[in-house]
């Protein structure tokens, strides 16, 4: 699947210069960085390209939601209750799938599933990505500090990690959201969904960083024993240089993988929170909330379950596959 570094080394052993990019004569030798090599490997990996393409597609859909709405001609808030039967279930075949409602209608409120999914992806992906980035940054900082500094700092960060892990997530979320929204919004003001999004991201940030921190700490502890770290120390480099130039570039692979796993878990986690009334509430379209709600209609409106269900499956699968591919590309040894 990918050219292993062993082959690279072997090649350079015999004829130095042949692995380098065919440089123009006289321009000097330019080596290819591990990053460039990884990118090259990634480009040759069909799975990576397909899953990456799927992810790009989802992001584009989310970004282009208003454009899609314009072309599709239906508003995410528009109700088509005339197309529901007296139990609030969509009329017609397969949950109300028609030429104008591609994925059918929601039971009860009778809104168009397709356009709500498009907008819902926008909300959910934004929350998941933002939470993913924030937790990864916090986790990496905490992990690098704990792993590299050791001693009391490690102990304190370890303690905080334990604390965050054992903290009652639900209670904090349930207590935080109304309290905070009361502080910012009057009793007659609707809480805008942007605020709820921010609160959700905060809640995830409070709890989600621990796994990244643990992972990074472990990596750093083992890196700390590597001789190039000692070499840098013997060279008298500063701590900042040590952390950001020596350590960090070597743990990108696990960080990227944990990020690629964290993002889909926030999409689904957000679904649970929405269900508990802490997350995004109606009428804001939200993919996670939609999935959780649809599950209850498994027996009566399978179409409603099918489209969001398949979409989240593909989304998470694409994240997983892409994450694996990135890891393989960055760290080919693990797949050797």
């Amino acid at each position: 699947m990918s050219l292993s570094p062993v082959e690279d080394i072997a090649l350079s052993e015999f004829s130095p210069g042949t692995v380098a990019e065919p440089a123009a004569p006289g321009s000097g030798f330019v080596g290819r960085s591990p990053g460039q090599l990884a990118w090259a490997r990634l480009r040759r990996d069909r799975v990576a390209m397909v899953s990456g393409g799927v992810l790009v597609f989802f992001f584009l859909v989310a970004l282009a939601a208003p454009l899609i709405q314009w072309a599709y001609g239906t508003d995410p808030q528009q109700q088509f209750q005339d197309s529901l039967d007296l139990y609030g279930m969509p009329l017609g075949y397969a949950g109300g799938v028609t030429g104008s409602h591609w994925f059918g209608l929601e039971p009860s409120l009778g809104r168009d599933i397709f356009i709500r999914m498009v907008y819902g992806l926008r909300t959910s992906l934004f929350i998941a990505l933002a939470a993913g980035v924030i937790t990864t940054v916090i986790g990496v900082l905490a992990g690098v500090l704990a792993g590299y500094a050791g001693g009391w700092l490690d102990a304190v960060i370890g303690w905080v990690t334990d604390f965050a892990l054992a903290m009652p997530f639900l209670i904090v979320a349930l207590a935080l959201v109304p309290t905070v929204s009361l502080r910012f919004y009057g009793p007659r003001e609707a809480v805008p969904s942007s605020f709820r999004v921010a609160v959700l991201i905060t809640v995830f940030a409070l709890f989600g960083w621990t796994s990244a921190a643990r992972l990074v700490r472990g990596q750093v502890v083992s890196l700390r024993e590597r001789e190039f770290i000692e070499a840098a120390r013997a060279s008298g480099v500063s701590t900042a240089h040590m952390l950001f130039r020596q350590v960090l570039p070597n743990i990108w692979a696990p960080i990227l993988v944990s990020f690629s796993l964290a993002v889909p878990s926030y999409v689904t986690g957000e679904a649970v929170l929405s269900f508990l009334g802490v997350g995004i509430v109606d009428p804001t379209p939200d993919f996670g909330a939609m999935i959780f709600r649809s599950i209850h209609y498994l027996q009566t409106d399978p179409t409603y379950v099918f489209f969001p269900g398949v979409t989240i499956f593909i989304l998470v699968l694409a994240f997983n596959l892409f994450g694996d591919a990135v890891r393989d590309a960055l760290d080919p040894r693990s797949n050797r």
Binding site: D8, F29, S33, E227, A232, A234, S235, G236, H241
Partner: protein, 344 residues
């Protein structure tokens, strides 16, 4: 073969150096005495060979010398200054004078940096601005260690093990140190490459007047570089002296055993007189009583179990040995010190 006589003033002086690691086993906790009271001196331009089996504490000693490990006890003086417990900023000037070459050429180079950057980092970190610019200095260094200076932008994975070790050497040389601790710099390399690197180091020793603490697990590699040799066993120096003395008249049984294991292509296997050590190495975790080597020593007597032999001169020579029953006469057949490297 080195020519300059050793300088009279010691550049590096080590006294009673010790490193103890706490080790937890099951539900108990014990102390691992990796290095347990080591004394030696290195003069400017001089090379000390530090020899011993793996686990004897020689690498730990090397790490303490360049202050990558904090000594538990003892004192290290560099150029007359006590550096035993220097920290942080105070350590900076030392970094310019004392450098280290690592054993593993694969793990000692940051895979995410170009070799140019790897060599430049010590310069930048120490605020050294070479006259021709850092880039030129790096090219110069690459040339000194026998690499193509145009490989400046290459990454470590694009080099072979021997080439990488040259990069490691260039990095150590970048700040123009006075003393380099070379921690088994060739043991991870193929034999053919070993010789090239040893030759490179010899050249540097000669051309730059560098002092080395050359750590190795056998006496063969050390022979061609060292002015003096110290043999370590279980965290202690058991014998130390001038190269010729050690190789021609080893007094400690352990030194003899080590020497007998040096391959010698000129003699047949039969008359090599190889000494095979039997018995188990005493655990560095157990409290020492008597001579640490006694469990493997064929000359061990009752006295060895009771009294620990001191490292003292015997027979009025400048050769110190820690043995109650030192070898009286040259018994090993490697009579002469050969001028040529072991191989190639």
């Amino acid at each position: 073969m080195s020519t300059d006589p050793p300088n009279a003033v010691p550049l590096l002086a080590v006294q009673g150096l010790a490193k103890h690691f706490p080790v937890r086993e099951g539900f108990g906790s014990r102390i691992l005495r990796a290095v347990d009271g080591v004394d030696f001196e290195v003069r400017a331009g001089e090379t000390l060979g530090l020899v011993g089996e793996s686990g004897c504490g020689k690498t730990t000693t090397g790490r303490m010398l360049v202050r990558l490990l904090e000594p538990t006890a003892g004192r290290i003086r560099f150029d007359g200054r006590d550096i035993t417990h220097l920290r942080g900023r105070a350590l900076r000037p030392l970094r310019r004078e004392l450098q280290i070459i690592f054993q593993d050429p694969y793990s000692s180079l940051n895979p995410r940096h170009t070799v140019g950057k790897i060599i430049a980092i010590p310069l930048q970190a120490n605020g050294i601005r070479p006259p021709g610019g850092i880039r030129n200095r790096v090219r110069e260094l690459l040339e000194i260690v026998g690499l193509n200076p145009e490989h400046y932008n290459r990454y470590p994975h694009e080099f072979s093990g021997g080439q990488r070790q040259r990069v490691g050497i260039a990095r150590a040389l970048a700040v123009q140190p006075r003393l380099v601790v070379a921690d088994e710099p060739v043991s991870a390399l193929d034999v053919s490459i070993q010789a090239q690197v040893v030759n490179l180091l010899r050249g540097l020793q000669r051309d730059l007047g560098l002092g080395f603490v050359f750590i190795a697990h056998d006496l063969a590699v050390v022979r061609h570089l060292s002015h003096r040799v110290a043999v370590m066993y279980l965290g202690k120096i058991v014998e130390t002296g001038a190269r010729a003395d050690i190789y021609q008249r080893p007094q400690h049984p352990y030194t003899r055993a080590l020497l007998s294991a040096v391959p010698d292509i000129e003699r047949s296997r039969e008359d090599r007189g190889r000494i095979r050590l039997e018995g188990d190495v005493a655990s560095p975790l157990e409290a020492v009583s008597g001579c640490p080597f006694r469990s493997r020593c064929w000359k061990a007597r009752d006295r060895c179990a009771v009294e620990e032999p001191a490292l003292v001169a015997r027979e009025g020579r400048e050769q110190l040995v820690a043995c109650h029953f030192p070898e009286p006469a040259p018994a090993v057949s490697t009579e002469e010190v050969r001028g040529e490297p072991v191989a190639g």
